[in-house]
Amino acid sequence: MSTLRALQQRTLQAVLDDKPPRLRELRGDGLANASSRMDVYRQGYRIRLRTALEAEFPGLRLLAGKRFERLLESYVAAHPSGHYNIRWHGAGLAAFLEYARPWCARPALAEMARLDWLISTAFDAADEAAVSAMDLAGVPAVAWADLHLRAQAHLQIVPFTRNVEAFRRAADADGPRPRLRRHRRPRHLLVWRQALAVRYRPVEDDEHCALTAAMRDESFALLCDRMAEHHGPANASRRMAQLLRRWLDDGLMAGWRLQQDSM
């Protein structure tokens, strides 16, 4: 190992460790000793990561309240940053809260972190044009059964057991802390970006079923079959048309094609 590499490894540990050994390579002077000079980097690392995480997790900040600072400190201590963009250190926070004590005892924290992070990543996800109702106006009536829709690549549908979206909305609006509620059964939230605005909303069971089917590249005919399971054959097409209209208005779809399903 080169002298330079060994020095960098020891310096790295001196920044990361809570009680680092003295680095004999460092020189202090009458202005400041080596240890207090090193503290500038040690403190700076922790402050920078905490500041970056605070910006990415406003919902979690509101939900965790006074615990937020300690929560971030424990995450930063357990997980050194590995990405060149400091913001991406947030990618592992939800998983950390899911398994690390004492945070794992409050599942709402991990759920909140997951929603905050989905919103953060949608913010600068790749741009795709949105399909409009006008784009589909020319599809012949007989061909609709063979229509396959392609959702925006960044679109996410995630189950939540708590009303974490209320905390995010309150945080964005600088509003009061809502009351945390547990759903009787998991509800799905849809997170996506429409043009430049990140949006999220709950989806009902039938929409979740149809939208995930569309994301699996199922044809429009199959989507209607799935609606029939929820609403009966007589109402399936009408409900599917309603959903499609909303998907197009929301800019959820990035493409479409006509292709017969293979038998």
Binding site: S2, T3, L4, R5, L7, Q8, Q9, T11, L12, V15, L16, R24, E25, L26, R27, D29, L31, A32, A34, S36, R37, M38, V40, Y41, G44, Y45, R48, L49, P80, S81, G82, H83, Y84, N85, I86, F123, D124, A125, A126, D127, R193, L196
Partner: protein, 282 residues
């Protein structure tokens, strides 16, 4: 007065660091801002709002790219993915130049998100020179390297900081972004003369100046970019202009963001200080 020093890249005049807080104000009232420096990593993203704004500014201003994560001095391998994204961004906006820092930001896959100083040794010099050459080959252009503020120094240093910076620039054939505030901060923290620093840097390789504020953290000065430029740094800027002549200059502000007018006033101050020294320079 100072004679004109030939340089390979154009002088862009007086600019600012592009920050979200000033997006709208800069487009509506750019005032005397002649160019903008972006933080490269903020725009190395797949899409969305950052790139939309960047394209708007690209239409209105010359841009320079300034990175914080190249980690040119690290003993980890260069990050090919990072370099590819950096090159893609450069292809998109065709910046006047691309800069980063003469430092290392991490090792063993860990990123400290800080500008860690190098030991100023022959071993580190050879290592950095080799990597600058690799980066310049990937990007197809010469890069600028900036001197960092530092709080530690290594006992086995064989060169001064300015000797190290100059040797990297000469041997790797790269250019220099001279941060005047960083010279002031490090000179205070390590007890060297900032004028010795200026005198030791090859003038023809100095392509850009940074000006910024700092704070007093106990006995040390800390490079925080959260306050106005102090008088001592303005005085050092005058010394720099008297040595290096007409050099693209910009104000960096990253925290405690004031109204844009305050930064524009600082920019005007820089212009007024430099003007008498540059009257005869081309």
């Amino acid at each position: 007065m100072i004679a004109s020093i030939p340089r390979s890249l154009p002088c862009l005049g007086y600019g600012l660091g592009l920050r979200v807080e000033y997006y709208e104000a800069l487009l509506e009232h750019p005032g005397p801002v002649e160019w903008l420096e972006i933080v490269s990593e903020n725009y190395m993203v797949p899409g969305g709002r950052p790139l939309v704004w960047l394209d708007r500014f690209r239409q209105r201003f010359p841009l320079a790219m300034h990175g914080v994560s190249l980690s040119i001095g690290s003993t980890d391998p260069l990050d090919d993915g990072y370099l590819a994204r950096l090159a893609a961004l450069a292809h998109r906006i065709e910046p006047a130049w691309i800069s980063d820092h003469l430092c290392w930001t991490g090792v063993q896959g860990v990123n400290l998100h800080d500008l860690m100083p190098l030991p100023y040794t022959e071993e580190a010099l050879a290592h950095v020179v080799e990597r600058v050459s690799q980066v310049q080959e990937v990007l197809g252009r010469r890069i600028l390297l900036e001197n960092v503020s530092s709080y530690i120094r290594f006992a086995d240093a064989q060169l001064t900081e300015w000797e190290f910076l100059s040797a990297v620039a000469e041997r790797a054939d790269c250019l220099i972004l001279l941060d005047i505030n960083n010279i002031h901060v490090s000179a205070h923290n390590h007890g060297f003369s900032p004028l010795d620093y200026l005198d030791g840097v090859p003038a023809a390789r100095v392509q850009q100046f940074h000006l910024a504020g700092h704070e007093q953290g106990g006995p040390l000065l800390i490079d925080t970019h959260d306050a106005p430029v102090v008088d001592a740094v303005w005085q050092l800027y005058v010394e720099a202009v008297s040595r290096f002549g007409r050099v693209s200059t910009m104000i960096e502000r990253d925290d405690h963001m004031p109204p844009l007018a305050e930064l524009l006033a600082e920019l005007e101050h820089a212009r007024r200080l430099a003007a008498p020294l540059l009257q005869d320079a081309a």
